[in-house]
Symmetry: C2
Subunit: 208 residues, 2 copies
Amino acid sequence: MDKRSEQKAKTRIKLINAALELSSTKGFAALSLREVAQAAEIAPTAFYRHFRDMEELGLSLVDEIAVSLRRLLRNARKNSEAKDLSSLTRFSIETFIEYVNENANLFRLLLGERQGASDTFRAALRKEIDLFVVELSEDLDRLAVMQNQKLRHSGYAAEAIVTIVFTIGAEALDLPPFKQEALKIRIVEEVNMILRGARETSRVKTKR
Amino acid sequence: MDKRSEQKAKTRIKLINAALELSSTKGFAALSLREVAQAAEIAPTAFYRHFRDMEELGLSLVDEIAVSLRRLLRNARKNSEAKDLSSLTRFSIETFIEYVNENANLFRLLLGERQGASDTFRAALRKEIDLFVVELSEDLDRLAVMQNQKLRHSGYAAEAIVTIVFTIGAEALDLPPFKQEALKIRIVEEVNMILRGARETSRVKTKR
DNA sequence: TGTACATCAGTGAACGCGCGTTCACTGATGTAC
DNA sequence: TGTACATCAGTGAACGCGCGTTCACTGATGTAC
């Protein structure tokens, strides 16, 4: 690869990381172009070689989130075979919390700007979350078949689970590790509650 | 009452409303003291007669939210007698969506700053939401007794319900009224799912 | 009631500062011959 | 390979602007006698 474009790519990444880091404390909306440039160790004017303005940078951050979410899903699935539903749930939630800790800034952005940010920004984030819900919904259906069970409304169940896991999981960001264990338990309990509620108890269905 | 303090109170309310209105489009974090003052039609310097800084104003907004949430709860309870659980759920969620529409700006703030805002701000919001969860949890227990049912973990159920209703309900803010009906159905389905999962099917418990 | 003084919400000028953006530039890297 | 020119990521000065905050002030309202 070009030495020139290689260097450019590096600077771009520095900008993205700087924005990610700064946004985690004060929120993306409160960032200035100049402070991001400074944190990335370039002159403010060089910013424009990479992004038209802060909004465009923001959309790149959403892309980062998207890539990262897909990686999360892949990891969770990789180990999802030959397990009963209950330990799979537990395992997936642990994977998730781990991911949240490793990508704290990305995650804060994902949840923090879901409301309040610009329309474009908000829509882009919504799209990624919806995608995630669809994927989970398909996984739930597949699992149900494997376990000879039926789910009503796997779509609703998936949406409810994602909402719970993301929102409560976000609290992990403010907690010391030793308190995260209790959080995991809460999430696991609530997700199991949803799964139980989504299951068709065949006893009710078949007339005896 | 003092004519002077009466006037002062009016100006204070103007400041609060201005901040609420402005924050709904760009987020509270992005507001400047001067633009809030201008929207409230006072000189920037008069701001200091009411609040030490923007953070203090923010905490007053949280108070507004708190008052408003309590009013919501009271309304929902007022009509909660002599109804079966399913129509009560439906009714409560309708009350809630109505409330969200009427207090759109307060609600946007409540959800938007849950992440990302300053620590004080975030903690204050968390406290209000937790209070709400506790109240709902007690209501659920009371209802279960009335209906001769048992709930496991009414606390978890309440937390899951509040998370779902608030988060999905927030989407109502971006929707035209005719699309809100579908949203309500989604919320009702998901809440029922949680309630179903929380119910102890006595068949499982008693040994026949 | 009238008068003299105190209070205090709101004003307007002024300050230094960081902001986003423009512009002409530099100098290392890339390309054509 | 060497040379001459083109490209373009990053620079630094400069701009006008809105920011938060200070300060001495005004004038309506409140209070004491």
